[in-house]
Symmetry: C2
Subunit: 317 residues, 2 copies
C-alpha cells in the first residue's frame, strides 16, 4: 500500500458556553485527503479541489502540509509524501475547516507508516497546524475531528483532553450562511478580562451542559446553551442573530449558538426531524437578510476521522 | 405533635473551581434545631448551645429565626414557634454554619405544619436567611444542606439547582483550624473581573470536575480541583496553605482546597482510610504553625437535612 484516503469531519467548537474548552464532531461535511508515497523526499501538495483556488499549495502554509511535516519531523521518517486535498468544508465558516484537513492528513500519514502513533498522539501535530492557520494552537476543533465525540480540553499545559458521553438521540444542525469571518478577526473582538459576575454565570452553564449531556437532561442542556463571553461580542457580525436563536428554539431546538468563531450557526435537537425543521427555519431567517445558506443535519460523530485504502495511482508513484 | 427535632449537615461550597456554583453536604457535623409550637404568636429563640454565646437570640437576626419567619410569612401560617438551637458546626468556619441552622429550622417548621412544601420549595427562605447572615442570598451552602448530595447552582435568576451524581466511594475530610474568617472579609479580597485566560482555565476545571464525578474518573477529579479565582487570594489568610495542599495529595487525597470562604480545608479521597490519613497529615501541618484543628471524615451526604419527632415538652407549650 502506498496511497491512502482519509476523511475528517467538521466540528463545532465552543458550543455556546464552553469557549476554548468544548468541541464536538458532526458526521458531515468531511474533508478528504489522499496521501501517496513518493520517491523524492519532501512533502508536496499536488492538488486541491473545492477551495475555489484560495488555499495555499505551499506545504509550509497549508494545514495538511504542516501537519504531515510535523508528523514526519517528530517520528523521524524521511519519506516523500504527495497530498491531494478535496475540501468539502467551507473556508472561514467556523466549522473547523483547517482542522479537518490537517486531521485527515495526519490519520492518513500515520496509517501509511503502519500506525506507529495512537490517535491522541497525533493531536500536537494538528494543533501546530492550527497555529499556522489561525495564529494559536487551539485543540477545540482538531481534538473532536481526530477523536470523535464531544470533547473537553480541560487544560493545555499539560494537554488534558477527555471525551464527554452524549445521548444517542442528540442531533446537530449546522447552518452555514454565505458570509465569511476570519477566526483572527473574530478573536480580536474578545476582551482580555471578564466581569466576575459573568464568569460565574458562564461556569454555571458549563457545568449545567456537562450534567445535562451525561444524565441526560435535555431541559438542562437547553438552559445551559448560553454564552456571556464571546457570543455577545461576535454575534454583531451575524445579521439577525438574536432572531435566529429564537427561531431555532421555536422550531424545537434545545438551543443554538455560534459554531466556533462563526458565522455558522449550530443547534442541538432531540430528533433528526426536529433538527431538519430547525435548519429550514434558520435558512428562511437568513433568506430574509438575502443571505443564502447551506444546512447539514447529523448526529454527533462518535468515530472522528476515518481511513480507507485506495487503489495505487501509477502516475504519482 | 407539637415539637420536632431536625438536623442539617455541614457543607463544602465552591469545591475549588466552582466558585458560587458548587456545594456538597457531608455527614457530620450537623446542627440541631428543636421547634415547638407555642400559644403566643411570634417566633422566639429560647436557647442556643454550642456557640459560646456569640449568636444573636433575636429571631430577626438569627438565621434559624429569619428562615422560620420567612416560611410563616410565605405560607400564611399565623403560628407561634419556639426555637432551641444546638450548634455543632463551628462559627465562621467555611462549613456552612449559618446555612445548617436555617435549613434545620426550615425542615422542622415545614414538618410541624404537615409538610405543605416540598424540600426544594424551602430553598428561597434559607437563601433569605443567608442574606441576613453574610450579606448575600447565596445557595451554595443551603442547597446541599437541604437537598443533600453534590449540587450545582446553574443560575440564580431564575434559580436552577441540579444534583450531580457522585461515586459512592468518595470521602471528604474537613479540617477546621482554630482561625476565624468572616465570609464578608473573605469576599472582599475578590476582584471584580477575571483575566479571560484564567476564566478559561477555570471552566476547563469545572467541566473536568463534573465529568470526573459522573464517569467517575478519579484522576480527572484530582486534576480539576484547582481554583484560579478565589483560592489564590483567599489562601493568604490561611498559614501554610500551599504546603497543606501538597501534604493532602502526598497523603493520598485526590485534591484539596478551601471549604467555602475558609479557613476550613476540604480534601477528597477514594477511601475512608485515606481520608482519615489525610486529616491527620493536615492537622500535623497546622500544628507546625501552632494552630489546633478539628478533623471530620465522612462520605458525601446524599440525604441532606433529616427530621425526627421529639417528646412533648410541657414547660414550653
Amino acid at each position: 500500500m502506498n496511497s491512502i484516503k482519509a476523511m475528517a469531519p467538521a466540528t463545532v467548537a465552543n458550543v455556546s458556553c464552553g469557549f476554548d474548552i468544548f468541541g464536538f464532531a458532526v458526521e458531515s461535511p468531511c474533508d478528504e485527503v489522499i496521501l501517496t508515497l513518493r520517491d523524492e523526499p519532501g512533502v508536496v501538495i499536488t492538488s486541491i479541489t473545492g477551495d475555489g483556488g484560495r488555499l495555499p499549495t505551499d506545504a509550509n502554509r497549508n494545514t495538511a502540509g504542516v501537519a504531515v511535516q510535523e508528523y514526519l519531523k517528530a517520528t523521524g521518517y524521511n519519506q516523500g509524501i504527495a497530498i491531494e486535498l478535496n475540501k468539502h468544508l467551507p473556508l472561514g465558516s467556523g466549522m473547523g475547516s483547517s482542522a479537518a484537513s490537517s486531521v485527515a492528513a495526519l490519520v492518513a500519514v500515520n496509517h501509511l507508516m503502519g500506525n506507529p502513533l495512537k490517535r491522541d498522539e497525533l493531536l500536537p501535530f494538528a494543533m501546530e497546524a492550527e497555529r499556522v492557520a489561525c495564529g494559536s494552537a487551539h485543540a477545540d476543533n482538531v481534538a473532536p475531528s481526530l477523536l470523535g465525540g464531544f470533547v473537553l480540553i480541560r487544560s493545555y499545559e499539560p494537554l488534558d483532553v477527555t471525551r464527554i458521553p452524549t445521548p444517542d438521540d442528540l442531533y446537530c444542525t449546522l447552518i452555514h450562511p454565505q458570509l465569511e469571518l476570519k477566526t483572527e478577526d473574530s478573536r480580536n473582538v474578545l476582551k482580555a478580562s471578564v466581569p466576575l459576575r459573568d464568569a460565574v454565570r458562564q461556569w454555571g452553564n458549563i457545568a449545567g451542559l456537562v450534567v445535562g449531556l451525561m444524565k441526560p437532561d435535555y431541559g438542562l442542556i437547553g438552559r445551559s446553551l448560553q454564552d456571556y463571553i464571546a457570543e455577545p461580542l461576535r454575534s454583531v457580525l451575524i445579521p439577525g442573530f438574536d432572531r435566529i436563536k429564537e427561531t431555532a428554539v421555536q422550531a424545537g431546538a434545545l438551543g443554538a449558538g455560534i459554531s466556533g468563531s462563526g458565522p455558522t450557526i449550530f443547534a442541538l435537537s432531540v430528533s433528526a426531524a426536529t433538527a431538519k425543521k430547525v435548519g429550514e427555519a434558520i435558512r428562511d431567517e437568513f433568506e430574509g437578510f438575502r443571505v443564502e445558506s447551506e444546512v447539514y443535519v447529523s448526529r454527533i460523530n462518535a468515530m472522528g476521522a476515518t481511513v480507507e485504502s485506495v487503489e495505487q495511482k501509477e502516475n504519482i508513484v
